[in-house]
Symmetry: C2
Subunit: 147 residues, 2 copies
Amino acid sequence: MYQLFGSKDEMLAASLERRPPGYEAGLSPGPGEAATPRERILYVFERLARASAEPGYHGCPYLAALVELKDPGHAASRVARDAKERLKEAFRAQAELGGARDSGLLARQLMLVFDGASARSGAGVESLDDGLATSTATTLLDAAGVG
Amino acid sequence: MYQLFGSKDEMLAASLERRPPGYEAGLSPGPGEAATPRERILYVFERLARASAEPGYHGCPYLAALVELKDPGHAASRVARDAKERLKEAFRAQAELGGARDSGLLARQLMLVFDGASARSGAGVESLDDGLATSTATTLLDAAGVG
């Protein structure tokens, strides 16, 4: 294994670079798709709730890598940070399309909710089954003027 | 060390049971204190922002224990879960005093923001210096009718 990857660090980084999570597909509108920016953002939170209900769910692997490694320079931390930045940028782009008053701020707020929901449900101290993450995101979208 | 604590698990649990974080004091009003329930809730987020600006901050130690151990039965996980439950219950009690439409839901939403903000700032992928966590909590308090 180490001959293939060079180091344990690179192996962990490679394991995080496997196919992106399913919600990323929902953020790019298909041809003729009617979804609104608001719907695309909320889709991410619905997808998170579905994932968190699966047996063996332990939260977002990118966030777990960042929390556990506590080392921003680690190869896996860089992969994780890039993935988190992509999601935040997707939120920001959709928020802007949806007419948010401050799309950058809204994207950062949505990331707090996404990572809090992923960490808490992954640790088994919260359940997202009743739409908690989606309804929290909805409140933030409403307040930011994304209709 | 192990003679004192019996096991490594108990040692980790004991290390999490040291004095509670500073924000807990702000949640119990002192004699003659004028703070409103809303102010007491927001104090927790302001305290988190201040803590996250300290050098060497790595996020809430309770959340880190839950994320890293991935074992709800571990002695340290139980200590961490209890601490998280105390904060959620303090939020709920203040939300009720402040006239929240659904104090239980608001408390769970605030915990998503608290844990998301602690994890992201602790991992170095977000900064709370501009009041991000407090303003997000404010939006949720407004929407829940806590004036």
